[in-house]
């Protein structure tokens, strides 16, 4: 029995092999050869498409097939003088089978070639085009090399492209990788291949994968780790032995989008997760120093000076306890703000330090708080009224803690200019590193108090408490009022004139209530705090009325309109100078030029003054119509800056790196 089954199985296995061999005429990929125009012009070009549809379960191969497989080869039969370019491939997919990586097309795909016709061909001449394509088609189990012999006949004509054919080709072309424009670099470091591609932080990318065209640079089957740091996209994977002089490939960024990338050896920083402790420590030290400087900022100084004096008053143990409580308040507030910041960033919001000041409602509350502090310093009311004084004395540490938290909270708007470097570092560090930097900021802010609390000699050198302290307090009210003024201004920026008015009205209401409280305190009345409390509650209801003013962003690109060739022709007919620029969300050079040059006030004013029409072509989705226009100006992609002066028929192609002077000069002339 066993013998019989063995023989049968053997026979079956042998029979199975011829069964999968190719049957003539029945191919697993159906291919049509389509020309974009059947009547190309002499001296011109015509694009041919291999429109391919693999059978279900079968796949064709990319130019670099991956671990196994072969590249498609084309053997052409062309009329004399006609030349043909290399095959252009759409962005592939990957298919990992039993540990071997295949770069494939599992669905319909279209490859392109460009034919060049010699000049001087007579119109009406027939051009028979023949090609034998050799390619490999596989399932997960078997592979079949196939050949397709295709032919088409073109006639020398005017090169006109029928709109329907053009639309079809444009649809297929969208799958081609786009030229990224910016040069990429790669580094091989201890078996790790690291590719750094300039890619704007705001441009979407998911399922990022680098398909290498250069063989032998990376291990195809090894997983790729992708990280984005600002405007740099880093792909890390396993390197193969040997260092190629350049690496080419396609960076896929999801949804069939891809960019052709050419990378040369250069420094590519390891993703920040692996950041050295040294850098984290440097950022920490910078943060401590920055925090120290914050102590003399007008928004913080008054609170701190008073706290320092109260510390000087309390001796020994008490001072230490208060200093520690104060430090805890500062550090915890800084870390809490930092944590919220990191959480918001992780959630995708673009925020920077002092993010809490981007919400006008927070500004509103801060305005009230600072106003109250200022009036307190000015002596309008006292926090040390009899009943209150006892309670505060009992909770000296609690008070110190609260003061610290408050100081840290109001210090943030002052932090920006001094802390830029350390905070920028904090935002790219891993979360624990970032929180360390924020803690360092708090520690720096608290350092003078720790010093006063722990060094009695220092405390002794502080001036002795006395009536002069009341005078100092009144003087310190001035920077506090200035801070309130600054906050009112910020509120006006964010919530408009009405928002600022609500803020000022609420502040006035609060002041009145506190003044009343002060009067009652002076007379020693019971329930002195009642009017003040009512005023606080009433003023705070103003929060509900604060709304963000309409964003200014719309105004920034005002005066521009989307590019189209018809609109361009129309403007040219009107005799207006036109500045046409072509950009894409994924083009870093474009974004830099826009932020640093085109969208600056100086350039906008100059363009407006010169009555220059600004047309913006957005090539983010690789619109083939725009692509053709860009190509017609001898550029493979964006950025492209065209200046159509008054009268001149040909546009001036501006360099890819713009300066403000270039545009202002032309707009003025």
């Amino acid at each position: 029995m066993r013998l019989v089954s063995f023989v049968l199985m053997t026979l079956a296995a042998w029979l199975a092999i011829p069964a999968i061999a190719q049957t003539p005429g029945q191919r697993h990929i159906a291919i049509d050869l389509v020309a974009e125009t059947d009547r190309p012009a002499a001296g011109g070009e015509v694009t041919l498409a291999f429109v391919s549809r693999p059978e279900a379960g079968w796949h064709g191969y990319w130019k670099n097939p991956g671990d196994a497989g072969v590249e498609t080869e084309a053997h052409w039969t062309l009329p004399a003088g006609v030349t043909v370019g290399p095959i252009q491939y759409p962005v592939p997919h990957r298919l990992l089978i039993a540990g071997l990586m295949n770069y494939v097309y599992e669905g319909p795909f279209t490859q392109f070639v460009t034919l060049k016709l010699p000049a001087g061909l007579a119109a009406g001449m027939r051009l028979p085009i023949g090609v034998k394509l050799d390619y490999l088609v596989c399932t997960e189990e078997i592979c079949v090399p196939e050949s397709a012999t295709l032919a088409t006949a073109l006639t020398v004509g005017d090169g006109a492209i029928p709109p329907k054919r053009r639309a079809e080709f444009d649809g297929w072309r969208r799958a081609l990788p786009k030229p990224l424009g910016s040069p990429a670099s790669f580094a091989i470091d201890g078996g790790t291949f690291r590719l750094g591609v300039p890619f704007p932080a705001g441009a979407p990318a998911k399922d990022v994968y680098f398909f290498p065209l250069t063989d032998g640079a990376i291990d195809y089957a090894a997983p790729q780790k992708v990280s984005r740091e600002g405007d740099l996209l880093v792909v890390e994977t396993k390197a193969k032995a040997g260092g190629p002089p350049a690496v080419e490939g396609v960076l896929a960024t999801g949804e069939g989008q891809g960019f052709s990338v050419r990378a040369t050896p250069g420094a590519v920083a390891a993703p920040q997760q692996a950041m050295a402790w040294g850098a984290a420590l440097a950022a920490f030290a910078g943060a401590v120093l920055g925090g120290l400087i914050l102590n003399v900022m007008p928004c913080v100084f008054p609170i701190l000076s008073l706290k320092a004096l109260s510390l000087a008053r309390s001796g020994g143990e008490g001072a230490r306890g208060e200093a520690l409580a104060y430090t805890a308040g500062v550090v915890l507030m800084c870390v809490a703000l930092g944590a919220i910041l990191l959480a918001l960033r992780a959630g995708g919001a673009t925020v920077g330090w002092a993010f809490q000041l981007q919400d006008p409602r927070v500004i509103f509350v801060l305005l009230l708080l600072v106003t109250a502090i200022a009036f307190n310093l000015a002596g309008l009311f006292e926090l040390s009224a009899p009943g209150m004084a006892n309670r505060l004395a009992a909770s000296g540490k609690g008070g110190a803690f609260a003061t610290g938290a408050l100081a840290a909270f109001v210090a943030t708007p002052c932090a920006g200019p001094f802390m830029a470097t350390a905070l920028a570092a904090a935002l790219v560090l891993p979360w624990w590193g970032a929180l360390t930097v924020f803690a360092g900021l708090g520690l720096g802010l608290a350092l003078p108090f720790l010093a006063i609390g722990f060094i009695p000699a220092l405390r002794r050198r502080l001036p002795k408490p006395g009536p002069w302290m009341e005078t100092l307090r009144r003087i310190l009210a001035v920077p506090m009022f200035l801070t309130a003024l600054a906050l009112a201004w910020v509120l006006g920026q964010e919530a408009g004139v009405s928002g600022m008015t609500i803020g000022l009205a609420a502040a006035a209401l609060l002041a009145a209530g506190l003044w009343w409280t002060g009067l009652r305190q002076a007379k020693g009345r019971a329930l002195a705090w009642l009017p003040g409390t009512v005023a606080v509650v009433a003023a705070l209801t103003g929060v509900a009325m604060i709304t963000r003013a309409p964003a200014q962003a719309a105004a920034e690109v005002a005066g521009t309109e989307p590019f189209s060739e018809t609109r361009l022709a129309q403007l040219r007919a009107e005799g207006r100078p036109v500045f046409a620029y072509f950009t894409a969300d994924w083009c870093l050079t474009c974004k830099v030029n826009e932020k640093a040059v085109i969208e600056t006030a100086a350039v906008r004013d100059a363009l407006a003054k010169g009555k220059v029409a600004v047309l913006v072509g957005d090539w983010t989705d690789g619109d083939p119509a725009l692509g053709r226009f860009i190509e017609a100006h001898n550029r493979a992609g964006v950025p492209l800056y065209l200046w159509y002066g008054r009268g001149g028929s040909q546009p001036e192609v501006l360099p890819q790196v713009l300066t403000q002077a270039m545009l202002i000069e032309r707009a003025g002339g």
Partner: protein
């Protein structure tokens, strides 16, 4: 019948770390596999001789190109005539294209008039993965001191067209010729081409 069971015995691998590729110029990983006759064969037993490893899958059209044309057999014969050991290895998993039992392998060798020193079975793919064998055919050459001196394709025409054999550079014969003349292998690494090795998932 004992023979049939012996050929189905699980292949054993020694010293070849799974998934690690071999580096040209370094010692090639040792291994032990069961051959088509059910005997154990270990690489280290051929120390002192040049060894060629050829990854095989009779169902693969690229392998068929070199067997149907007689090119592989000619290459084997030329190598064997110079005292080179030729090991054909099949890393196809049971149920996948090209998988063979010992008896089937014997029939294949007989039918194709192939003359390998031995035909080894690696159904678990341990040796294949240890060598980083990706395609069929995929060739490795190990010199008498156990050092890997060549890995890659059989020639420089990555097609399935028999007509391309005539004009191709046979990397294996070229490397063996250089080794025999005491020269270093000039083309020590090429991109292998063919079907993917049908490993177990």
């Amino acid at each position: 019948m004992r023979l049939a069971f012996a050929t189905l015995a699980v292949a054993m691998a020694l010293a070849v770390p799974a998934g690690a590729e071999q580096t040209v110029g370094a010692q090639a990983g040792n291994f032990r596999l069961t051959d088509m006759n059910g005997r154990n064969v270990e690489l280290s037993q051929f120390r002192g001789k040049t060894v060629v490893l050829e990854w095989n899958n009779p169902g693969c059209p690229f392998v068929q190109k070199h067997y149907n044309s007689g090119n592989m057999q000619k290459t084997q014969a030329a190598a064997r005539a110079d005292g080179v050991v030729w090991l054909t290895i099949n890393s196809g998993a049971p149920g996948k294209q090209g998988y063979m039992t010992g008896a089937e392998a014997q029939a294949f060798v007989k039918k194709t008039k192939a003359t390998p020193t031995d035909y080894l079975l690696d159904p678990k793919g341990v040796v294949g993965k240890g060598y980083g064998a990706k395609t069929t055919p995929h060739i490795y050459i190990i010199d008498g001191s156990g050092k890997l001196v060549y890995q890659g394709g059989i020639d420089d025409k990555p097609t399935s067209d028999v007509g391309d054999i005539a004009g191709a550079r046979n990397h294996v014969l070229a490397a063996l010729g250089e080794l025999k003349a005491g020269k270093p292998v000039s083309v020590a690494e090429t991109r292998p081409y063919g079907c993917s090795v049908k490993y177990a998932d």
